[in-house]
Symmetry: C2
Subunit: 351 residues, 2 copies
Amino acid sequence: MTITTRTSQPAVGREWRLRRRPQEQVRDGDFEMVDAPVPQPQPGQALVQTLYVSLDPASRIWISEREGYRPPLPLGEILPASALSRVVASASDEWQPGDLVYGPTGWREWACIGRDTKLNRAVMSIPAQIARDTSFPLPSLLGVAGSSGITAMVGLDQVAAAQSGETVVVSAASGAVGMAVGQIARLRGCRAVGITSGADKCRWLVDTLGFDAAIDRNLPDWREQLADATPDGVDVNFENVGGAVMEATLARMNQNGRVALCGLISGYNQGGAMAADYSPILMKRLNVRGFIASDYIKLWPEMQTQLIDWVRDGKLFHQATVVEGFEQIPATFNRLFDGDKLGKLLVRVAA
Amino acid sequence: MTITTRTSQPAVGREWRLRRRPQEQVRDGDFEMVDAPVPQPQPGQALVQTLYVSLDPASRIWISEREGYRPPLPLGEILPASALSRVVASASDEWQPGDLVYGPTGWREWACIGRDTKLNRAVMSIPAQIARDTSFPLPSLLGVAGSSGITAMVGLDQVAAAQSGETVVVSAASGAVGMAVGQIARLRGCRAVGITSGADKCRWLVDTLGFDAAIDRNLPDWREQLADATPDGVDVNFENVGGAVMEATLARMNQNGRVALCGLISGYNQGGAMAADYSPILMKRLNVRGFIASDYIKLWPEMQTQLIDWVRDGKLFHQATVVEGFEQIPATFNRLFDGDKLGKLLVRVAA
C-alpha cells in the first residue's frame, strides 16, 4: 500500500494533555499544550487534520476522579473529544485525501485513524456529496447532523419511544443536543417544550427552531410557566440537566411517562452532586433510562443519513457557537456550563 | 334477592378515622377510634367481618399531605388498608356466608363489599379449598400468598424481567415484600441477596428463607459486605428503601441493570425526603421503573394461584408478626418503620 497525500503537512502538531484534575470550573494550568510529531499512517490507516473540535459536557466527567462511562482519564493523556477532520494522507483503501471524517480523535491537530482499534471503529466517513456541497453547513456534522442529532434520535426513538401527539420536555434546550431534541420531537408530531436560561434563547427556540414553548428558568415563576406550557402533562422528559430542573419536569409528568436520561450537567462541576427526588418515579410509575448514543452505534449511519437529509431540506436547523484557534479549547470549555453559547460549541482548528 | 346470614352480628362496630396528619412517626391522637353502625348489604353486596388488617408502608404516604399514588386522604376518613375478611351476610350470588375474601376494606371491623365501585372490584375471593384447609396459614393470604407476594412477582417478572442466573438485590429484605422477593428470585434461578438490619434477621434470611446472602446494614462495613456478596455485580435491584441503601446497591449494578422501584420507605416519615444520586442511572444505562402492583390487577388471580401452590408445597415460606386487637392498629403501624417486626405486619381483629 502506498501512501497518497494531497497536501504537505508539518512535522510537528499541537495537542492538549490533562495536567491536573480540575476543581469545579476548568482553570489555567489544568491542561498543557504540547508539541508532538505528526504521525505517519501505517498500512490501513489515514492521517487526518482536525478542522473542528467538538466540546461536550461529558468530557467534564472523564477528567474528574469520578468513575463515569469510562474510567477517569489518566493524567498526561490527550483529552478525548469528537472532531471533524480532513484526510491528508492515506495508506488505506477506505479513505482518500480530501475525504471528511468524523470521529473521537481528541484535542489534537493531527491524528491517525484506522479500523484496528475500538476507538477508531467509531470513525464515520462523511458522504462525498456532502463534503463537496458548499451550501451544506459542515459544522452541523458535529451537531444536529452528527453526534448531537444522533443522541437526540436515540433518546427520543430508542429510549423513550416518543409518539405523535405526546408532550416532550427537554432541558438545556438551546444546547447542541437540546435543540436537536425539540426539532426532531416536532418532526415526530410531538409537542416540544424547552427549558433554557434567558429570554433571548427562549425566543430563538420558539421563533427559529419551532418549539411549541420555551421556559426561562431564570424567571421566578418558571415552574408555573412550565405547568402552563404542558396543559396535558409531560409524557417524555429528555433530561440533560438534572437537579431542580429535572425535578420540576418530573413533577409535571403523566403516569407511566418515560425519562430519557442523557445528562446531569448541573452536577458535573460540583464534584458529582447529582441527587434528586426519586419519589415521582415511584408514584407515577415512570420509566427512567440512562443512555449513551455510542451503545447504538449500529444505527448511526442510518440516523445520520436522515439527519443530513433534514438539514439539507431545511427541516432541521443548525446552530453553532464557533471559537477560533486550537489554543482556545480549554478556555472555551467552560462555556458549556455557564450558558454563554447557543447550539453546538465548537473550536475551529483549521480551515 | 334474600339476605343469607350464618351468624348474627352486632349493631355497632369500630373503625379508625384520620384525625390529624402525622408529623414523622404516627402519634396518639393522629387517629380516632369511633363506633359506627354495621351496614346492611344492599342487593349485589355482602357484609364481611375483618379478620386480619394488613399494615403497609404506603399508607404513610396517603395520610401525609403528599400527592402520592392517590390524593392525600381527607381528614375524617377511614384509613384505606387491605384486609382478610369473612363473609357473614350476603345479598349477592357471588359470596356465601363463610367465604373468605381479600380486599381494600380499611381499618374497620365490618364492611360491605360489592362489584359496584372501583374499590370493590379489587376484592378477591379466596378459593374454598384454601379457606377450608386448616393446615394452610391464613395470614399468608395477606403476605407471601397475597399482595406482598404479588408485588414481588410483578416487580421481578413484569418490571425487571429477572432471568435465571442473574443477581437480585432486595432491600427491606425481611419485610413482607422483601422476603417474598428473595424467595421467588431463588425459585426463578437467580442469586438472591437481601439487605436488612440486624444479625438475627440476616441469619433468618439465609437459614430459613434460603437467600444466598444477607447484609446487615447496621454494620460499619456493610457496603464492603454487599460488594463481597455480589461478585458478578447486580443485575436487578428490587428497591423498597431508597436513600443510602439504594445508592449502595446502585453502585454495584452492572451496565444495563434494571431497578424495580417498589418503595422509598426511608423517606416516608421524613416529610418526603426521597432524594438520591441519579448518576448511576446515567453512567450505567440503568432502567429504573416505578410500579404499583394494582396496575397489574388482571394478572393477580393467576399469580395468587401460583403463590398459594408454592406455600402449600413448602416452596414459599410465610412469616408474619401478628398483633392482637383492633384498638392496637395505630400503635402497631410504627413498627413498619423502626424494624421491630419480621415478615408481614398484621393486626388480628377477629378469630
